[in-house]
Symmetry: C2
Subunit: 233 residues, 2 copies
Amino acid sequence: MSGVKGQGWQAIEAEVLRRIHSRDWPPGSAIPNEAELAQKFGVARATVNRALQSLAEAGLLDRKRKAGTRVALHPVRKATLSIPILRHEIEAIGMTYGYDLVSQTETLAPKHVTTALRLPADGSLLHLRALHRADRRPYAYEDRWVNIAAVPQIGEVDLSRVNANEWLVANAPFTAGDFVLSATNADATEAAAMEMAHGTALLTLERTTWNGAEPITWVRLCFAPGHRMRTAL
Amino acid sequence: MSGVKGQGWQAIEAEVLRRIHSRDWPPGSAIPNEAELAQKFGVARATVNRALQSLAEAGLLDRKRKAGTRVALHPVRKATLSIPILRHEIEAIGMTYGYDLVSQTETLAPKHVTTALRLPADGSLLHLRALHRADRRPYAYEDRWVNIAAVPQIGEVDLSRVNANEWLVANAPFTAGDFVLSATNADATEAAAMEMAHGTALLTLERTTWNGAEPITWVRLCFAPGHRMRTAL
DNA sequence: GAGTGGTCTAGACCACGGG
DNA sequence: CCGTGGTCTAGACCACTCG
């Protein structure tokens, strides 16, 4: 008796999902162990394992050795945002990408930057400000600090022609990062750069990246008013 | 010759990652096929498969049958945001959760709501407005529309005592959803409810959920000023 | 057509952790 | 202790897709 439509581990996944949604297996309850399910469904245990791992990763099941598998009490939904290169994001919606370097200096970084990068406060960093455009109109304002010690070659790059983000992606791989979304009112600088009213609400993304223990860059992107980050659940 | 430290598919994953970061396998290049890698690493092909699938899911590899596996040209980073129940989010930081129902009516929904839910514009929906508090202070303002036809039992719930979100999570499972993040300036209603200045930038989350093809609810959450959604990369 | 990843199987051993 | 999930193996068949 299989009781499963279709084939493969996705069919098992679907059937388990159905039993969760139908309250056959209500939130918090334990479901049969892998060996049992494998027998009921007429498949190998590895196949059941694949299906349950997928559901556990999605947050719908809680699995523990010996304790078994339970339906999550409060399915912590996970929204996965894709963070494409801005150029691709813009070109994907059929617009023309543009990039203007606003300023480039080497100076002491403010404390919130050195803190985020876990760097001593007394080193100087490369500070870049730039504007990304879609069909000539402001799309996002970038404020970036780069740890030159980690990527000395960036000193030889003409950053008014080469997008710093793309250069870093291609030349300074990172192994870990930190990512924060918030909303901020546009300050005078941002308002001027993006040609909008002071105080406008901006979706703001701050990202810090490391290569191993070595800090690479801190960047803050302010998106144009009305920008939406969208994903499916 | 294994050439791999540690054990298990994660060791394989780490070794592949190392070769990508070290530019042994530069972006865009093809890497050996699974059978070959399995032999080099001295493991079964299934183990290599597990490791490569993990990296592909993370966006670092592009895999195609027959074409083989290539290092992603532009690793599209994926940020996974956990969306916990507000109560848990607040209690997790050691604060006391509070919930105030501001209004509850049954009325025609505005067009942007019916559109998002894919419902005809002439039906009436349950409209809720509520304030979530952390240690008595406003934490998030909720504007929700519920498709009563999909969850008729909600009519019998005292929503001034029971959090609508939590009731729905427990009683109206959903199979699909839509999720949008943006920044908005607080309007008069929100400013009053959250006790802050008009025009303050608010991180705004809009979520639409369905059970199969049946729309369940549309909700818009405005978080208090300074709210940050954080994740690792 | 043929190479490559996707998946299944049966069996095995191990690590974790609840009772 | 000992049940449960986590993982590995060797072998097999299949599905996709490039050339």
